[in-house]
């Protein structure tokens, strides 16, 4: 069974059809990248998967269960967690507190008001673990809004995986990073991907070809090709999409 099984997914905003019939199987444990030119509908595609928008039609199955039309928190509870293209953290909370808040769902303690947060053992341990994984121990008590950009991106990823979701989707995790920062981010993403299914939207082709097991190319709301990096590199339809018709 695929981790994510998407059939004939569509989304229109008014008359504009942004996603027009996407079919995609994401295998368990793979790193699957979605690439495509600007405006191809990559972000919308991710927003549909994570429940930010309801789809207009089609079907999304997460580990065999239908999740289309569910609210984001329901989808998150079923084990699909996402990061955001623009850092989307709790700016006035410390790094550690951001992570701990992201861990409350797994320990089922977000509504607890009769015990101190520091006494919720599972959430604290998991938050410490993720803090170590994303390498922000030294910035533990800094408000997330005051973090340097790259650290904020790392925190963003940390919050996404804190819940131990088995399908993680990352929206442009290395956007705006320097080369060094990108290299660090890639190694973090590799670690994060262990034992999980990972979907990633990325503009940096270097990152995509280095990380991905398989790549799907989204153009004008349709997937024109899916395959290994090697297949994609040589696919004429992909060249056409990126370089215009003459190149094909």
């Amino acid at each position: 069974m695929s981790a994510l099984s998407i059939k004939n997914l569509t989304k229109n905003f008014g008359l504009a059809e942004v996603i027009c019939g996407v079919d995609l199987e994401v295998e368990k444990g793979e790193i699957h990248a979605v690439i495509g030119p600007n405006g191809a509908g990559k972000s919308t595609f991710f927003n549909l998967l994570s429940g930010a928008f309801p789809p207009s039609g089609g079907e999304i199955r997460l580990n065999g269960e239908s999740i289309d039309g569910l609210t984001p928190e329901k989808i998150q509870q079923r084990g699909l967690s996402r990061s955001f293209q623009v850092s989307n953290v709790f700016v006035n909370l410390s790094v550690f507190e951001n992570l701990r808040c992201a861990c409350f769902k797994t320990s089922g303690s977000g509504y607890v008001f009769w015990r101190a947060a520091s006494k919720i053992k599972a959430a604290n341990e998991r938050a410490e673990e993720v803090l170590g994984l994303i390498g922000l121990e030294a910035l533990r008590d800094v408000p997330a809004g005051a973090l340097p950009y790259a650290s904020q991106r790392a925190l963003e990823i940390g919050m996404t995986i804190a819940s131990n979701a088995d399908v993680v989707i990352l929206d442009e995790p290395t956007a705006g990073m320097s080369n060094t920062e990108t290299a660090q981010a890639i190694s973090l993403i590799r670690q994060v991907a262990e034992g999980r299914t990972l979907m990633i939207v990325e503009h940096d082709m270097g990152v995509v070809f280095e990380l991905a097991d398989r790549i799907s190319v989204l153009v004008y709301g349709k997937i024109v090709a899916t395959g290994t990096p090697e297949e994609i590199r040589n696919d004429p339809r992909v060249k056409e999409a990126y370089l215009g018709e003459e190149a094909a």
């Binding site: 429940g51 984001p72 709790f90 006035n92 909370l93 409350f104 607890v112």
Partner: protein, 422 residues
């Protein structure tokens, strides 16, 4: 609203240091009646401040911690107060007969009744309110406040019409030998409940739900993607805040022994916002500072000037415009600077700034007082720190302009001192 919001306190293991604010507060509460022994006015004021501290802190659970701007928080305070007053009357009747459930209930527990009423009201009405924060929430609570205040006039059997309802705090069983007929008895009652409520509200900020309320304030959209609907978190915070607002109302019922529908309306809802904003939303003790300062100003300033309400308004304006973190935020800045050793560098800038503010304020106060005398006064003289100023004399006006100008000059000259270390 970054400037207005709190950085959640970092998590600490148990330490005597963390305990010290509580020990000091308890000591102050114990010492106050000794310092002000036999001073009836002081006791009246202290009780008023105690109520306002709890009221303002309960409000900050919504605004500062949860990011919900409410214009109807007095609904919970007022209904809690009504609930406690009716309970007090039930105690009165039951003790007269000498039997029944209420004959065993002491008046000391009335804040608990207020808390239950406030929490239940929030539970019943809150769900539709909490879908959105921001403007929608503010408008809905504004409507709620108006509606409940109007209902207060419409159901005289519950709310007592314009005259309100009365109670008697000396009835029923006495607990802990607390004699509510005496000012000291009432004071201990107030001190006990205030301390307990402040401790509980502080503890709430340290719980998962307390932290999630900060999270929903900072970024409700992200909250969904870590598995929680923002509305649920808001709703729970709303209930908690309503409960503590009701607790403050219960304290007020015992203190005043009268409650009128006015207590449900926009004026107390505005006052609690004012106290919280003056004290600062971003620091836990901010609303406490605000409650003390605004209560003192409201009740004492009118002894010295006819323009007291104007001054309260001006201070509110000045703080919102120039010091959005409030008085508590200012104190916190000084404390942090003292802790990291930068106080010496920053002190000249801050002190000169304070001097400038004092000079400007003095100038403004003199202008306001002179204007007031000119328009309303019989003798057209203003007592100003023991000096007499005549509104008809040009010299008085020159003085006020000199003070004001000197303040502005100091502010400009020393601006660099503050910027360099900012």
């Amino acid at each position: 609203m970054n400037d207005l919001t709190a950085v959640a306190p970092r998590q600490n293991r148990f330490s005597w240091r963390a305990l010290s604010p509580w020990v000091i507060s308890a000591a102050v509460l114990l010492l106050l009646p000794v310092v002000f022994a036999d001073n009836g006015t002081a006791f009246t004021l202290m009780n008023l401040i105690a109520i306002n501290i709890v009221f303002a802190l309960s409000y900050n659970m919504l605004l500062g911690q949860g990011g919900m701007l409410s214009f109807g928080h007095a609904v919970f305070y007022g209904l809690g107060s009504y609930g406690a007053m009716h309970a007090m009357n039930a105690i009165d009747e039951a003790s007269y007969v000498g039997e029944g459930f209420w004959s065993h209930v002491p008046v000391v527990s009335m804040p608990l009744v207020g808390m239950i009423v406030g929490g239940l009201v929030a539970l019943v009405i809150g769900w539709p309110f909490c879908r959105r924060a921001g403007t929608a929430f503010a408008m809905i609570t504004l409507g709620l406040g108006e509606m409940v205040a109007a209902a207060g006039q419409m159901f005289p059997s519950i709310f007592g019409g314009e005259a309100g309802i009365y109670g008697n705090r000396t009835v029923g069983p006495q607990w802990f030998g607390l004699d509510m007929a005496h000012a000291t008895g009432v004071y201990w009652f107030m001190a006990f409940w205030t301390f307990l409520a402040v401790l509980a509200i502080w503890a709430f900020t340290r719980t998962p739900l307390g932290r999630m309320s900060n999270a929903v304030r900072d970024n409700p959209d992200r909250l969904q993607f870590i598995g929680y609907p923002p509305r649920n978190i808001r709703f729970m915070v709303f209930i908690a805040s309503g409960a503590f607002g009701g607790l403050a109302g219960g304290m007020a019922a015992v203190n005043y022994e009268i409650i009128t529908p006015e207590a449900l309306g926009l004026i107390p809802s505005g006052t609690v916002l004012l106290m919280t904003a003056v004290g600062g939303l971003g620091v836990f003790y901010g609303p406490i500072v605000g409650a003390v300062v605004v209560s003192l100003m409201n009740s004492m300033l009118s002894d010295y000037t006819d323009a007291s309400i104007l001054y309260v308004g001006l201070i509110f304006l000045a703080i919102v415009m120039f010091a959005p973190r409030g008085l508590g935020g200012g104190l916190e800045q000084v404390r942090v600077a003292a802790k990291d050793g930068s106080l010496v560098n920053r002190l000249p800038g801050w002190l000169s700034g304070a001097l400038a503010v004092i000079l400007i304020s003095l100038g403004l106060i003199l202008i306001i007082e002179l204007l007031f005398q000119l328009l309303h006064g019989d003798d057209a003289t203003t007592q100003f720190f023991g000096l007499e100023f005549k509104a008809v004399s040009i010299i008085s006006w020159i003085w006020s302009l000199i003070l004001f100008g000197a303040g502005v000059a100091v502010m400009r000259v020393t601006r660099k001192l503050r910027e360099d270390n900012a």
